[in-house]
Symmetry: C2
Subunit: 476 residues, 2 copies
């Protein structure tokens, strides 16, 4: 147990310093490393494997809903970026500019894509001429660059990995439907696969994406009560089409503007997994994306037959799960601590006595609950235990959110919980009130939830008649 | 047949203008499109789907040999790029430079990675301290940028997609073994999956990768006799380790330098598929990477029961193959031409009489050979036909290469075939002779094949005693 204690001591306690606890986990679980490139991280094998599993999940759902992957250039000529006024205003201040190719100075600067609406628009203009060419349901897996002042691994980095969906439709109705469909897919992945409860809603005018008519988001609450925007979906109407002169011949033979959407989810969601589920022993990974779902730890592995039995059970379970046998010389205590740090959902212990009795011990990462399971029952018992685990970590997150969600009918009540979670409050819809709340209390509007409640009649800030309920909070 | 003729007419004949034929296919089969970013292409859904299938193949083989994926920054600080002398000399002239982040001028320029040896070295320096930390077998899927003067889709573009493997080992022997293992994996993928015969060998000093001790390559011959380097694997010895000060404590407790490799394959290989297998009707895709392996074309689809039967067989075969039913209003002739253009290996025709007889017609893309197959025999017959198809297109490429491979014992003989294929000739090993051959005849050394032959005793150029046989040719 000395080894185990040593490792556990090495992480800052979550309740003592949440920010330090977070970076400790990123480092100790070997998810990411710093690089000499300002604000850029190295995604290490364990972190990348989580991302690959998230990619597989999302990509499968994108393809099942008719989307196709493409590859766009990583550069955007300055003149192309400038075509849509709101878009360039939002992004130009935070892009990286390429000015030279080799020793030659470029005639026109190129920015490294911060997002690719402009490139997709240019391509759509080339390939769309008739309603028969619509819709195009495209997605791209890539990394993008936004010049950030302060960065933290996964949460905010100069370069990050993501997918960006870009679709173009014959009618506004179809585009709106697509926007909401993709938000539902994000909610599904977060809740049912990553065990992270989300709040679905629409962003205020102030918080929406540069160039969008409407931005929808799924917001997750971290253990410390702060919000993390975990996926966004934008409806553009025909604004980009007009700026880029994309038209098509409609069914009635008139020239029309098509309607567009975009939507994205990034490696940021790995930050959400860490801060939603992690504890003082390290990560707790949702089984669907854990690179190792089960770790096999032989007990008294020098004794005859133990390693052989451990290998046999590992090989057998490999057909159904991502499983790893650790037969290294490290102590069992060291191994327990190591795989708890890495958030492996289940540990399978197997010693000489277990083998005699034809059983093994399964230990859940979340609560260390033990299950004595007959070896020939593993294929039926493991799915049940993994599902119990998934539900349990979802429930903890759900309860945390419930405990940290408040209502406010005036600024004093809003102020009382400003540091501590979500605050539901009525809003008149005026930018002035939104700004006042931000400036005075340091919280921002997270979203206008789809599920509205009637908390009062008047705006929490100005007292004028309220239009809708907003959820306020501090955000990462 | 009018439609079919129209489409076929639209492609330049392969024998009339090979370069134009190539770009026609890229465009008509919707593999890629041009963008307004100089030298950068848009990888369209059909081209990207081929790349995804190649990725799956390679990634599976990388993982089966113990490699892990990581994500590295896309930028390299100028000082980091400069650490290895030969490497920076080779790449600095062709990189894109980022000089500004937002409105701020950077203190140090960043280049967009042309390849990532330097970034991996910096990371290895951070994470390696003991022989216990070795080997690290890493790979990255990404795009890289090299500022090219003249570009062609897939073959040479400013930005291209690839994988770059980077490994680091305790001993030189292990690193050499890794280098050769990865070359074999490339050869396996090219020959057995993409049906492209390759020549394996070592590059001359002049042609090797900037900073490598040895570069190995797999060379493919295109239909026009030109060579296409289709995958490379580099052995670095401990040169990079010394330049980046990467050391580890060895088994004998001394500080030692580790030994490194890198290896890459890119979207260029899609160019190889086009130019190895394509004909005047369009692409011919190898079944293992074809986005659509079988297209189902209903004949007289307005007749009762035809569409239903076509759907039924499509749904059934979907379990084993990537299959598409085209039930659009286009004529059968148009559909035949369209999917020949797209290189779909097998067409399944199903009409009213076929249904009566419980059969269908399978038509091979390469030679339009027809197979009348009972519907309940499809699962056993299709694999045989696809394998015959794969072998047939491999054989055509193999014969083309054999017909265009020559031997030369003097400069006249070398000159006689300089435009037309591979020329095997003995070489003294001197750079002067290599340069003279290049300058006088316009051919470059493709490689020093692993399988050496004794064509003569003296260098084809200077007449001095020869050291080894080199294969010369024009290259893309």
């Amino acid at each position: 147990m000395a080894d185990q204690k040593k490792m556990v001591d090495a992480i800052t306690s979550r309740d003592v310093d949440f920010a330090k606890w977070y970076t400790d986990i990123v480092k100790k679980a070997q998810l990411a490393d710093y690089s000499s490139v300002r604000g850029c991280m190295v995604l290490r094998p364990y972190g990348y494997a989580i991302w690959e599993n998230i990619q597989k999940l999302l990509d499968g759902k994108f393809k099942a809903t008719g989307h196709e992957n493409v590859g766009m250039p990583m550069f955007i000529p300055e003149s192309l970026l400038q075509k849509e006024k709101d878009h360039v205003e939002g992004f130009a201040p935070e892009v990286a500019w390429v000015t030279h190719g080799g020793s030659e100075k470029l005639n026109e600067r190129l920015c490294v894509r911060p997002t690719s609406e402009t490139l997709f628009c240019e391509h759509y203009r080339n390939i769309i001429s008739s309603y028969r060419d619509l819709p195009k349901l495209y997605n791209q897996w890539c990394s993008v660059v936004r010049w950030e002042k302060t960065t933290r691994p996964f949460l905010r980095t100069t370069e990050f990995w993501w997918q960006e969906g870009h679709t173009i439709h014959e009618t506004a109705e179809e585009a709106v439907e697509e926007t909401l469909q993709m938000l539902e897919i994000y909610a599904d992945v977060l809740e049912n696969h990553l065990a992270i409860p989300v709040l679905k809603g629409r962003k205020t005018e102030k918080e929406k994406f540069a160039g969008a008519r409407d931005t929808y988001s799924v917001e997750a609450m971290m253990h410390d009560g702060k919000a993390l925007q975990s996926g966004t979906s934008h409806y553009f109407g025909d604004d980009f089409a007009k700026a880029f002169d994309i038209t098509f011949q409609g069914r009635d033979n008139t020239q029309q503007y098509p309607h567009q959407t975009s939507w994205g989810m990034s490696t940021r969601v790995i930050g959400a997994i860490i801060m939603t589920h992690g504890d003082d022993n390290g990560l707790k990974l949702p089984p669907d994306v854990a690179p190792i779902q089960i770790v096999v730890v032989p007990v008294a592995q020098h004794k005859e037959g133990v390693l052989e039995a451990a290998k046999e059970v590992t090989d057998r379970l490999k057909k159904n799960w991502r499983i790893k046998l650790d037969d290294s010389d490290n102590s069992a205590g060291w191994k327990y601590a190591e795989y708890e740090m890495k958030g492996v959902p289940l540990r399978l212990e197997l010693g000489p006595r277990d083998i005699e009795e034809g059983q093994c011990v399964l230990v859940r990462r979340d609560n260390r609950q033990k299950y004595f399971v007959k070896l020939d029952q593993l294929e039926t018992e493991i799915p049940k235990i993994l599902e119990e685990y998934r539900q349990a970590i979802f429930q903890i997150a759900y309860d945390n959110r419930a405990n940290k969600t408040y209502t406010a009918t005036n600024m004093e009540e809003l102020a009382a919980h400003a540091e501590d979670g979500y605050i539901k409050a009525m809003w008149c819809g005026a930018l002035d009130c939104e700004m006042a709340i931000k400036d005075q209390l340091g919280v921002t509007s997270r979203c206008i939830p789809f599920e509205q409640e009637q908390i009062g009649e008047t705006c929490v800030c100005c007292g004028k008649p309220a239009k809708e309920m907003v959820v306020w909070g501090k955000a990462y």
